[in-house]
């Protein structure tokens, strides 16, 4: 299997043309203030305002490597970086003919070609980019780490094309590992064959199919039983928002309140998508669902979404966090903390999980919907650790993008009036302000008052 590689990602729309990246690169690579030495180039002097750095993309199949007659360019199979060997290079510059993106340049001062080498895994340009137009994506590490572990989910599955859950289930099971009992109450999780078809489970760990109402209490019992016989078994629930926030809530609330040692993951697709897209308690205001139709008398769901993560936080859980698959490193960090917390008490992860079928967006946009939900503060990412008395945003968004960017992606919101969008904006603003207040004040007892 091929390796996953870390990547330098450029967001041209964020670039302000300040040129700090060029200076930092020239300094790091040639100890010079002359930006001719920079491997990253900012487009300049164009009639209309357009910036965006140009830099080697470390291609999977690099033309420059194939065009080099001296064997001086190679793609490092470990890091993915296309490396240049000065001793071998004859400066023929044929590589510059091969590269369609100007990723390798001739430097007249050095009489050599030069190209980005990711600074060995710690790119200087990223550090100085104030508008964050260049990011060094290290998600590859996650894939490398998880790739070493056994995939505990069957190769085949019955999910809709573009479903967010396959990646979620595979990553989660790899991470929690084989010493796990999995509960999957009715919903899309068993629907895509987790609990099995024709007598075979879709997982390589014991999994069962509780009622929609009793997942948390059954898992609590499983955990207690194993503990009783001296085995430390991880218990895990992969439940939908119905099995967590609605019908499943009383057992979830009870187990959390009692501090049962359970890891409960709510996969929130904001409705009963498995049974035909009915509304749930987490369906946002104005959404089209099959039970909140859009017509002459109804404009979608009339009430607001209930915000489960804060409700769970108030259950004194050991750990509560919100997450999306689009920020995979963040998810794994939280999952690890949740696993550790579930050895001492209740751990709750609330994963925002868009549904291509029920929300009506193109199937390849699943990750983009998540990014936009985060970027607009519709779904803020945060975590709470009880013991550390810590509440913090893990992906703070200080300058949220326009709410329309998110709403416009989704068919379920297509009918929204301006007033309804404003309502959305207000709901989101109220929520983020509340969360910010909590983050600012901190969650700790008022020691002075005691």
């Amino acid at each position: 299997m091929g390796n996953a590689y870390n990547t330098l990602v450029v967001y041209p729309e964020k670039c302000n043309g300040c040129g700090e990246c060029e200076k930092a690169c020239a300094k790091a690579k040639a100890d010079s203030t002359d930006i001719v030495h920079s491997r990253i180039k900012v487009l300049k002097n164009l009639e209309d305002e357009y910036f965006g750095p140009v830099v080697c993309m470390q291609c999977g199949e690099p033309s420059c490597v194939k065009s080099c007659p001296a064997g001086a360019l190679t793609k490092n199979p470990e890091t993915g970086v296309v490396e240049w060997d000065e001793d071998k290079c004859v400066s023929c510059t044929i590589c510059t003919l091969g590269c369609p993106y100007g990723g390798i340049y001739y430097n007249p001062l050095m009489s050599n070609v030069m190209k980005c080498d990711h600074c060995g895994g710690d790119p200087e340009c990223v550090k100085v980019c104030e508008p964050k137009a260049i990011e060094y994506k290290t998600e590859a590490n996650v894939y490398k780490d998880q790739g070493e572990r056994e995939d505990l989910f069957a190769p085949g599955l019955a999910a809709c094309l573009g479903c967010n859950m396959e990646i979620l289930i595979r990553h989660t099971l790899r991470h929690v590992g084989p010493n796990t009992v999995l509960a999957a109450p009715p919903g899309c999780v068993p629907g895509i064959a987790v609990v099995g078809i024709n007598g075979f489970t879709g997982t390589k760990v014991p999994s069962f199919h509780p009622l929609l109402t009793n997942t948390a209490s059954m898992l609590a019992g499983v955990r207690r039983y194993y503990k009783h016989i001296g085995r430390d078994v991880q218990v895990l629930a992969l439940a939908g928002d119905g099995g967590a926030a609605d019908v499943g809530f009383q057992s979830l609330s009870g187990a959390a309140e009692r501090g049962e040692e359970v890891l409960f993951v709510c996969i929130d697709n904001e409705g009963y998508m498995n049974t035909g897209m009915q509304r749930s308690g987490t369906t946002p205001y104005g959404s089209w669902t099959s039970t909140t139709p859009v017509g002459s008398s109804l404009p979608g769901k009339s009430g607001d979404q209930k915000y489960m993560p804060l409700i769970m936080l108030m259950h004194n859980c050991e750990y509560v966090a919100t997450a999306v698959m689009a920020y995979m490193e963040d998810y794994h960090e939280k999952l690890e903390k949740a696993i550790q917390a579930s050895k001492k008490g209740f751990a709750y992860l609330h994963v925002f999980s868009p549904c291509t079928t029920g929300w009506r967006y193109p199937q390849e946009k699943t990750m983009e919907v998540q990014r936009q939900a985060v970027a607009t503060n519709t779904f803020p990412l945060w975590e709470y650790e009880r013991e550390a008395e810590k509440f913090a945003f893990t992906h703070p968004v200080d300058n949220p993008t326009s709410m329309e960017d998110y709403i416009g992606m989704l068919g379920k919101f297509r009918h929204l009036s301006k007033e309804q969008i404003d309502h959305h904006r207000n709901t989101v603003a109220t929520r983020i302000n509340l969360l910010k207040a909590i983050a600012e004040e901190g969650i700790k007892p008022l020691k002075a008052a005691v």
Binding site: V54, P69, C92, T93, T96, L97
Partner: protein, 438 residues
């Protein structure tokens, strides 16, 4: 001996094909032949070996370990003398035979020798193989004077290399009265020519070889003017033609080179050809052409490898334009770089075009700084470019030409700021492609 895949030749086309075959067929037996005694290398590197810019041991493109890891049977010193396509086997100079299921001919080119009286009998050297480079270096050690015939890439490059070794070099043009006439127009050529003169290379383009006389291992080059040049070292770099002398009665159709279709298939079942030996589609016209350039050899090798390994994606992935398989060969665009005495130049696309042919030409010339830039437009499309000591990304320009990107109202800005504009256009087009796909 029997092998599933047989590749004759081990430079860019052959190596890329082998790489590609191994992506799709990890186990099928694969044999690669080279007639030489060394590991694979690029002929492009040879002038640099003569110049001494890089050591021979550093420039091999693959090592034994690579062939072991990829399970490739790499055989040195194996010269193919005949292909029997009916029996699917090749005969080697050593008398042995190799049976194949699929064959790739990637034998590159042979130097051509102009029909100058006495030249064939003379003690001349060429520069096409590693052995040639070693011989030139051996002779150059004790030589004071060299004559280089040919003002193409090989001849020019060899002249500079020998000049830098301290030899007095006489550079004499071939058929055409210009330097690098395939890549540079006369204005650009003059600049390059002047740099050679300034660096002590004798190169009078009026001079032309009439005949060559040889005595005691030394050659005497007699010019049209009657002038005679005695020399210790005579290098002929007047051109290259495909190495196809082993086709015999295989039925493989050849014109100047082996004729191939857009999948690099020859006229004969189970035989492909790629690289300098292949005569393939032209980017501009309908006639098949030889391109003889390195990036093309890699591209063609890749396509041949894909097709040989029977990768279904090749035929499934149809492009929206014209129903052509997306990965098939779309015709070579002329491109090259030429670097001389610390100066950098490149030529891409229809670099020789002029206004009389209906093209719009935008030039910038600063002869005193040896700078030259030429952009060739066909309507709102860039079709060619030349640069000497200017900062441009030739690879981006090649792709703007290849993708036939309509510059529309950006043409004027492109002409005035080609560096940033071409980068922007390429990145926009790439991002646009991502967005369209998404």
């Amino acid at each position: 001996m029997q092998t599933k895949y047989l590749i004759i030749g081990s430079s860019h086309a052959g190596l890329t094909a082998a790489e590609e075959i191994r992506v799709h067929d990890a186990g099928g037996s694969l044999t690669m032949l080279t007639m030489e005694d060394c590991l694979p290398y690029s002929p492009t590197i040879l002038p640099y070996i003569v110049e001494g810019k890089v050591e021979e041991k550093l420039i091999y493109l693959r090592d034994e370990k690579y062939f072991q890891e990829k399970n490739i049977n790499f055989l040195k010193g194996k010269k193919v003398v005949n292909i029997d396509a009916k029996a699917s086997k090749v005969s080697l100079a050593d008398g042995s035979e190799i049976a194949y299921e699929k064959l790739l001919v990637a034998t590159g080119g042979n130097p051509t020798v102009p029909p100058v009286p006495g030249l064939k009998e003379a003690n001349y050297l060429v520069l096409q193989t590693m052995e040639d480079a070693r011989k030139i270096n051996e002779v150059a050690k004790n030589a004071k004077h060299a004559v280089v015939m040919g003002t193409g890439l090989v001849g020019m490059h060899a002249a500079e290399a020998l000049g830098k070794k301290g030899l007095q070099v006489e550079l004499i043009r071939g058929r055409r009265r210009a330097v690098l006439p395939n890549y540079f127009d006369s204005d650009a050529g003059k600049l390059i020519h002047q740099v050679f003169l300034d660096n002590g290379i004798n190169c009078d383009l009026d001079k032309h070889v009439k005949e060559v006389e040889s005595a005691n291992g030394k050659s005497k080059v007699v010019l049209d003017s009657g002038e005679a040049l005695e020399t210790d070292l005579l290098v002929v770099g007047t051109g290259v033609k495909p190495r196809i002398d082993f086709l015999g009665d295989s039925g493989i159709q050849a014109d100047k080179g082996i004729l191939v279709d857009n999948m690099m298939k020859t006229s004969v079942e189970n035989v492909w050809a790629a690289g300098d030996v292949a005569q393939a589609a032209d980017f501009y016209g309908k006639e098949k052409v030889l391109t003889g350039i390195l990036p093309d050899a890699s591209d063609q090798g890749k396509i041949a490898g894909l097709d040989m390994a029977g990768d279904k994606a090749v035929n499934l992935a149809f492009d929206e334009i014209g129903g052509q398989a997306a990965l098939s060969y779309r015709g070579g665009v002329s491109m090259n770089t030429f670097n001389f005495y610390g100066n950098k130049s490149f030529s891409v696309g229809l670099s020789l075009a002029n206004e009389e042919d209906g093209y719009e030409i935008d030039t910038m010339s600063l002869p005193t700084s040896c700078m030259y830039q030429k952009l060739v437009f066909d309507g709102d499309f860039l079709v060619g470019a030349v640069g000497i000591n200017v900062t441009l990304d030739p690879g981006i320009l090649v792709n703007i030409i290849r993708l036939k990107i309509d510059l529309k109202d950006k043409k004027a800005e492109f002409a005035s700021n080609p560096l940033d504009m071409s980068r922007r256009i390429m990145w926009d087009s790439w991002r646009g492609a991502i967005n369209t796909a998404g």
